[in-house]
Symmetry: C2
Subunit: 434 residues, 2 copies
């Protein structure tokens, strides 16, 4: 099996200033094409450390992916270390990257300095994959068997996450061309609203009857729910894909509405399908949002889906009670009688939203994200969520609501509230539609 | 200088299923007490890999901190590997941890099984720091000079982030008792709105004149701007702290308003100070937001600060033009004449927000986050941002605006637009106040 190591370079990681998210993203991509990641490690901007550690990795694994240390400033020395490691005799300027550097700086109206031009310059021992989103290109170093005892390839990517992510597609293509990979097939079924242990019990018999070559993993996540990943090596063997499909079909029968999607879906990415259906569907519904404790997170999730303007009207973050009353249109008496964090207020917010924002559906959240606030009756982590549908013919508004409780940090609580609100909307739409 | 390595154990990290946040947290804590982290790495649940890699770390660094692999399931083998590495002759049960295990399971109403009792059992070659929040304790292994050529200590922590975090205080205390530590001092100055290369040029002379013992690092980030970190070892030497303060003071003179804060500040965390000032300040101002392309991100950033309800009224995400007109109160003619993505619309949104939401200040964003949409005149990545201040006495509304251009992914574009909007607000407030 082809193996890889992932190395992050930068003092800022070793002092805990930034969390390394690149390695996780890269290892996920490598795993999906059947490459086994053996090591992930971070070292500082130190020439000897870089050379020694990368040499070891090139001995131990077939592929080494390096991120970081390619900035224009003096403390970034990855490129020089790689030149030494690969026995470069000099540098050359990549014309493609140079054109990109000039274009980017000109678009940002930044003066072109020598340090920027240097970004397009690379050791003569490497090939370049141009970086369309930034100034430092991806460098590809091929090592023959003589050097490390086996054929090895090192890819050096910039540390900026979105630049590294974009370049990774080309890196994956290059790996596929350089190595003969085993066929691996991953299929992921997404569930929401059901605890991992409860889920495990529900699908116990199904899990026990899975064929030996099919591996099941539980991947719990606060915003995505519990994902069930089925992995199969040698997926090209006859009948395997059909067999996986059959298992998934059985799983769907067991779990029903707890399943909201598959693979890369999310509770927000399925909204186009739920609200607008296939082209020429008889329903073309719209959505709006009212948020209190989630503070904008719910709207951000919905608008993270490109093209959402087809169904999304917008949101009101009614952080102050006066905004709930004066802008959103909640009856002041409801807040006075039941408090802002109440089932009544959540339902009133969802109902008012369909009218104020002129939408078919609406979701609302009101709760206490913490760390401060709360009371004995309504402790930190309490949240009421509501989903409403307005019938444009009768004017009738149907609303459902649910209490959520989350005992994590402010930011995790907000994420969990928002995800649960999207799930409540999904269940309401399914009930209306099907 | 005392050095450390941090090792995370678990297959789930190597397949990219979870992002390792423990290492970042631990390295921050170690740095703050003057321990230099040389390596951070992740390996799988493989006995030989664990033993080999930890042996290397114990040779190369004084302190090794291990997280993960201590769960009750079969694939968690860290404890056995540590027993072998440290030459344990058997296991013993920690009475303190056993009591905690019993208490936790009883509180969660979970039946006490043998696997749970095993959690309190540790190799006889280690000491235990009890884990109040979970079933697996922290294990401390002391190695004499004979074994790795120098005195070394290995701490094994559970992988659950809040358990590891809580135990870290005791680990830090233990490190202070075991080693004589140098004093280290980090100071970070935060800038926004100035490109890294331009910044480097502006402070070149200042940087070149820095004393040798003071190390400068550039840490660029889409939402935090370019952070400048000054690091000083031996900060207890006479005059060093004063000298750092002096350098920072010079830096402030050079960069002026480009600096928005220091250390752990962010553009949103400084809002309480900017809007409400110190207690009993003569100004107590409020803020509201209107978002189009940022879709809720700006409001989310503002509400990520606990206690923001003191100054934050809320937001309107006016995704649809009709919401801009009917809910937010933008003149329909402005959109008709100039389009929704225009300086005029951004300014009208900010102005309208101060009235609709009854706030002193307002920020607005309108743009094209991509990947679709846009035109030749207004390409994807174009955004107009505006900040407004309403004088409650005269009723006059002052507004400033700026065009931003970002050529990244949808999500990074949105982050950059939102950060720039917060920065524009900061500059407006500073102009009004000082």
């Amino acid at each position: 099996m082809i193996t890889a190591s992932i190395c992050t370079i930068g003092d800022e990681i070793l002092i805990g200033q930034i969390v390394d998210t690149n390695s996780s993203y890269i290892s996920k991509a490598l795993n999906s094409i059947g490459v086994k990641v053996r090591y992930m490690f971070s070292i500082g901007d130190d020439r000897n450390e870089i050379i020694n550690n990368l040499s070891n990795c090139l001995k131990e694994t077939d592929i080494v992916i390096v991120t970081g240390g390619l900035g224009p400033t003096k403390d970034d020395i990855t490129k020089d270390a790689l030149a030494a490691l690969s026995g470069a005799t000099g540098y050359y300027q990549s014309p493609q990257q140079l054109a990109i550097v000039k274009r980017i700086l000109s678009a940002r109206k930044i003066e072109l300095l020598d340090v920027n031009l240097d970004q397009a310059s690379v050791p003569d021992s490497c090939k370049v994959i141009p970086n369309e989103l930034g100034t430092a290109p991806c460098m590809v170093f091929n090592f023959s068997e003589d050097k490390f005892g086996h054929k090895a390839v090192l890819y050096s990517l910039p540390g900026v996450p979105y630049e590294a992510e974009r370049l990774l597609d080309a890196v994956v293509e290059s790996i596929k061309q350089n190595f003969t990979l085993e066929r691996i097939c991953h299929r992921t079924i997404l569930t929401f609203g059901i605890a991992e242990s409860v889920l495990a019990k529900q699908i116990e018999a199904w899990e026990d009857a899975l064929p030996k070559w099919l591996h099941l993993a539980y991947l719990p996540n606060a915003t995505l729910g519990v994902r069930l990943r089925l992995s199969c090596f040698d997926s090209e063997l006859p009948g395997r894909i059909e067999s996986i499909d059959e298992q998934i079909s059985k799983l769907k029968d067991i779990l029903g509405d707890s399943i909201y999607g598959s693979d890369a879906d999310s509770l927000q990415s399925i909204l186009p399908h739920l609200l607008q259906g296939p082209p020429q569907a008889s329903y073309q519904e719209t959505l709006a949002v009212a948020e209190s404790c989630t503070g904008g997170r719910l709207s951000e999730l919905i608008t993270s889906v490109a093209g959402c303007s087809a169904y999304y009207k917008g949101s009101i973050t009614a952080y102050a009670n006066e905004v709930k009353i004066n802008v959103l249109g909640v009856d002041a008496d409801i807040i006075k009688k039941h408090g802002a964090v109440s089932q009544q207020c959540a339902e009133a917010m969802a109902k008012a939203t369909t009218l104020t924002m002129d939408s078919d559906y609406a979701i609302a959240t009101t709760g206490i994200a913490g760390p401060g606030g709360g009371s004995k009756e309504k402790p930190v982590g309490t949240c009421w969520i509501a989903a409403a549908h307005r019938d444009r013919v009768t004017g009738e508004i149907e609303v459902i609501s649910k209490q959520i409780f989350s005992m994590s940090s402010r930011s995790v609580n907000v994420q969990r509230f928002a995800a649960n609100a999207l799930n409540l909307l999904r269940l309401l739409i399914k009930r209306k539609l099907f």
